[in-house]
Symmetry: C2
Subunit: 436 residues, 2 copies
């Protein structure tokens, strides 16, 4: 629908002018509404927020009490939405109820008196405690005319929904369908991005059965540390990605050396030490968006040490990105606590002794301190990654009351008595499970 | 700027009504323009097309002869655009000229008489043959108020640009900035996607020095075949991605077996034969968008044979996706023609003899036929991938007149005489270069 340009005033009588004025005022209202809606929704590419804005705008434009937008999930043939102005997602088969009828047939359902209409399902009101008086259910179509969702607008304040409401919603439908499809596309791409990174991480983990799962565990450790340190969500995300990819450079190291049992020669060892530099050069070929440009730098610095004796660059102190200092702690912790078929896990207090011993030489003190504040339920879930559904929920709830520091105190104090025994015992039940 | 709702008519005198009518008519025009622009640009996420639509719409809205939108490339500090309504991209330092001044200062430049104004650079008119009379140059700001580009509107039909034009452009600026940023984001993500696939392909190629470059060459061969077969662009893109990733499953094959010289045991050989199935299972974990969902299936079928004796599924005939049948030809051709440090390339006619021999058992006839129609300059560029800048441009131009079929005829006929000698000789100059 293309809005037409206006006529000129000159030739009109007074009464014609009054009529015209009324027309233009009405048009003005309509266009104002449409323009504001269009502008408000076009700024948002996040599907959740976009849906919320759209539902608010439609509610306001049609002077109604509620609006829900259901989107059609073609693959699963389901309609879904965030519950009107709430957080919870609802899903149901694509043909059910009034919304399903409209999504399937493409008909508009304008019901002036819900309780007098057999198509209305009173059960929903009963469940939600809401009282529906009138409703307008309208198909949302994209530019190709395909139905991609349904508007459901409830309880217009002054009487039932009009033909004009339907027309307005028709135009809103076209505008919002485009933006919703863009947002869905954007989310799809984000998911694709995530799955690519997962694939790269799995590739590395798959090369060496001894370190299987390392990249995924370290991603969780750094996230737990970042949580304690209150690092902002976008930096946490970057850190998690860098953790997943930190060892990617190992792809360039010969497998025979990577998986060699027994002592490495000096030459072999220095070959392995090249892997962070490879990580950087490979990751730099990925066209990360500006937000993610630091990922290769962080990932490549996970073997730097705070005293400058690390590699590849020998950076020291704050010249090492904070994210890489966090990675260093997580990397060593995972190496020491990983299951090996030829040895048990190192005793937990000995692992922490090593972290303590190397604090201020290898590790940044604040990162180690943050690590020790990780809750034990979080820690044991990561340690048992892959089989964490076998953990007893009661135990996890109990372990949530303690962090690593408190476990260490318990281990030092009375590991065989009272609360200390409970904490140490519950943790070690899993930590040493397969070996004791 | 939020557009206000209108007053009511009741209380006005006749002259007030006429004034109001004029106001609403003007508002109506303005809102109509804005609404149409907003709707037209919000449907487009491709930056090129979006820029063209926007330039057209602004030109129309301001009743001007030309509009150019320059975007600011922050990293390179350059302004760039497609030349007004043309295809060519122009780029210049971000502070140069009228556009650079506006981008740097954020000032609006409304020049009613270009040739009377010292800020106008006549050289540009001289170069382009265009005559600028008046111009409006306007900063484009995003929601954060950052300048992300510049509008340059030339030659308003009825006299110089007005304050109202500036106001209209101000609103258009806000709306279009959002959409342009979305489009840029979208293109960035597409580039990221491409670079991820490149990284995966390079990962495989890096594992085995013997097959270095294989994934990238095969991607070019399939594209050349698809070009001959007139396959649509989106399918060609999928085919190219599938080619880049077809061997990814080799990541799960032990390196010692993969790179073993000499004869493989039956067990080792069957281990290697598992790689297409691994390709599929790994690629299926990538969250490809709906358009790309077929990539894992195609990539995994590159060792199927037309008579059903291939692996992993033993598919036959048209049960093998066309794209995979194309892959099969390209894969074998590359294996036979790759440089090996322990042997020369096989003679070209012998390579084709093998393709012919295995047509209708291993290969689909139409794919082999299409392969033979590839122009020789295209073929030699791929064969010499990585060093193709060393190819003589005259030779390439000459080879562009012949395809594989014609080369084969020349080789059979008079490889030492006349035109046949020229064709065969020019091709073999490169094909056998390093070894003869």
């Amino acid at each position: 629908m293309k809005v037409k340009e206006q006529d000129t005033i000159d030739s009109y009588s007074q009464s014609q002018i009054t009529t015209k004025l009324k027309f233009y005022q009405e048009e003005h209202r309509r266009l104002t509404v449409l323009f504001n809606i269009t502008r408000n929704i076009s700024t948002e590419l996040k599907l959740d927020k976009l849906l919320r804005i759209l539902m608010d705008e439609v509610k306001r434009a049609l002077k109604a009490d509620r609006c829900t937008v259901f989107l059609l999930d073609k693959h699963r043939n389901e309609l879904w939405s965030k519950v009107a102005h709430g957080e919870r997602e609802i899903r149901f088969p694509g043909h059910l109820g009034v919304a399903g009828y409209v999504a399937t047939t493409g008909h508009i359902l304008n019901i002036p008196d819900a309780y007098a209409d057999p198509r209305f399902n009173r059960e929903i009101d009963k469940k939600t405690g809401y009282h529906t008086s009138n409703m307008l259910t309208f198909p949302m179509r994209n530019k190709l005319g395909e139905i991609i969702g349904v508007f459901q607008v409830l309880n217009k304040y002054d009487g039932p929904f009009t033909k004009e409401d339907e027309q307005l919603l028709d135009t809103i439908s076209v505008i919002s369908a485009t933006q919703l499809e863009n947002a869905q596309l954007y989310e799809e791409q984000k998911k694709t991005f995530d799955s690519f990174i997962e694939t790269l991480a799995s590739t590395i983990d798959a090369r060496d059965p001894l370190t299987a799962g390392h990249s995924h565990r370290i991603a969780q450790y750094v996230d737990a540390i970042a949580h304690v340190m209150n690092i902002l969500p976008n930096r946490r995300e970057i850190l998690r990605y860098a953790a997943l990819l930190h060892d990617y450079g190992k792809i360039a190291i010969r497998e025979a050396i990577l998986t060699k049992r027994g002592r490495l020669t000096v030459r072999e060892y220095s070959h392995i030490q090249e892997h962070p530099a490879y990580t950087r050069s490979i990751l730099e070929k990925i066209n990360f968006s500006n937000d993610y440009k630091s990922i290769p730098i962080i990932a490549a610095a996970h073997h730097e040490k705070i005293d400058g004796t690390g590699y590849p660059k020998g950076l020291s102190g704050n010249d090492i990105p904070l994210e890489a200092r966090i990675l260093a702690v997580a990397d060593v912790f995972d190496a020491l606590t990983s299951k090996r078929h030829y040895r048990d896990r190192m005793e937990f207090d000995k692992v922490i002794d090593i972290l303590d011993r190397d604090t201020s030489t290898h590790f940044d003190e604040i990162c180690v301190k943050a690590f020790k504040k990780i809750k034990l339920d979080v820690l044991i879930r990561i340690l048992e990654d892959g089989t964490s559904d076998l953990l007893d929920k009661k135990d996890l709830k109990f372990l949530n009351n303690y962090n690593v520091n408190q476990l260490l105190e318990a281990l030092k104090r009375h590991p065989r008595r009272g609360e200390d025994k409970l904490v140490a015992g519950t943790f070690n039940k899993y930590y040493n499970k397969a070996y004791s």
